[in-house]
């Protein structure tokens, strides 16, 4: 399962890979998230915006997961989207930690800074 860090405008975004155990843990954490009340859209700023998980490889129904600014957007093969609440950006923080070893330290520092704000 691959994760794209939605960070850059011009340069290709950095990516990291989740092994089977970490991917399974992600799906487990995802299943525990409550629906988000109210409307939300992924962050659309210049700079770090969130994480995009290509879930199509191992998950039968979910195709894409976007984790962005306290919300998680889950798209399935039927084209429907669920929006879940990522309290205190816990899932986003966990994913960044999971991929930190595969990212440039400067990029990790940018993500850490954003997650602190």
């Amino acid at each position: 399962m691959d994760v794209e860090v939605d960070l850059y405008s011009g340069r290709p975004n950095p990516r990291f890979h989740l092994g089977p155990a970490t991917a399974a843990e992600l799906m487990h954490r995802l299943a525990a998230l409550p629906p988000l009340s109210g409307r939300a859209t992924p962050r659309a700023t210049l700079g770090y915006r969130g994480l995009r998980v290509d879930a199509g490889v191992i998950e039968s129904t979910i195709t894409e997961i976007v984790v962005s600014g306290g919300a998680v957007f889950v798209c399935d093969r039927a084209g429907t989207q669920r929006v879940l609440e990522d309290r205190e950006r816990g899932l986003e923080r966990w994913l960044v930690e999971a991929g930190a070893g595969q990212l440039d330290p400067n990029e990790v520092a940018v993500l850490d800074q954003d997650l602190k704000s």
């Binding site: 939605d6 850059y8 405008s9 290709p12 975004n13 700079g47 915006r49």
Partner: protein, 308 residues
Amino acid sequence: MLRITADIFSGRPNPVWEVSDELEVRATLRALTADRGLLTDAAPPESGLGFRGFRVEVLSDELAQDFGVDAATYLAVGQQAGSPRAAEVGDRLVSLIEPGDPHTAADAPPLDVPLKDFLSEQLGLAAALESQSRASLADQAAPPAAEAAAPAVTCTIEFGAFNPGFWNNDPNVRLNNNCYNYASNWRTNTFAQPGRGCGHMYTAITCAEVTRGAICDGMHRRFDCFPDSEKPRYLVALVVAPGPGFRDYHWYRKQKEGFWGHKPGGTEARNWDESHNVITNPETANRGPYTIFCGYFYGCHSQQLRIK
């Protein structure tokens, strides 16, 4: 069409004349915009009595966009002139007065001499004051480098209509085309990189390197004109986020509507900045971490075909 007002009187209405001949209008705008240092938004606050300058109104939106000028601009003459060419360009504006034109409000008292002669004479006096002023300043300071390098040409370019749906409606298009694709107005679905198409991609995130890559792809710096065969020739702007930590480049493209559009990475194309204001000037827009403004460039058709 142009409407020109000679800003000369204090009490009586200023003379106004209009120019409708398309070729003459374009030639005049070329002369006015050849040296951007000549133009200001309004009369300089230090302007006093006498011939202060010309207010030039461009009555066609397309003309204003073609020449990159606002709907109204101001050419100061005399001591507040932006350059020694001001009097020469002013003379050209005066020469456009046609005999019999209704120059001023109907109830204004007539001049003793024809308006054209009167303005030419006054402009000559203003130019004399200007040259005296420059002579006294010449020993104090050399002109800034940017002013010395001011372009002496105007290029004809195109502006595309703002059409975000072209980039946003299909998620695959949105995700796989970035700011460089948007600036080039060319979907490659490859997240195009400056210089990759010509085989020499940038090697660092700096203005110099990204510029080198874009020029290698076929872009030109602003005022280095493309021929008509290279239409569409878009005006674009390059900015850089210098770090530390976050290093990236970003592009904006001027749209037909007068504002600037951009597409941050795989997100939606838009015409607003980080403060959610419509972008009328990429140099002053809120660009988040992209704090370095590298400059303006022209794209062209060959560059569109080359980018990868």
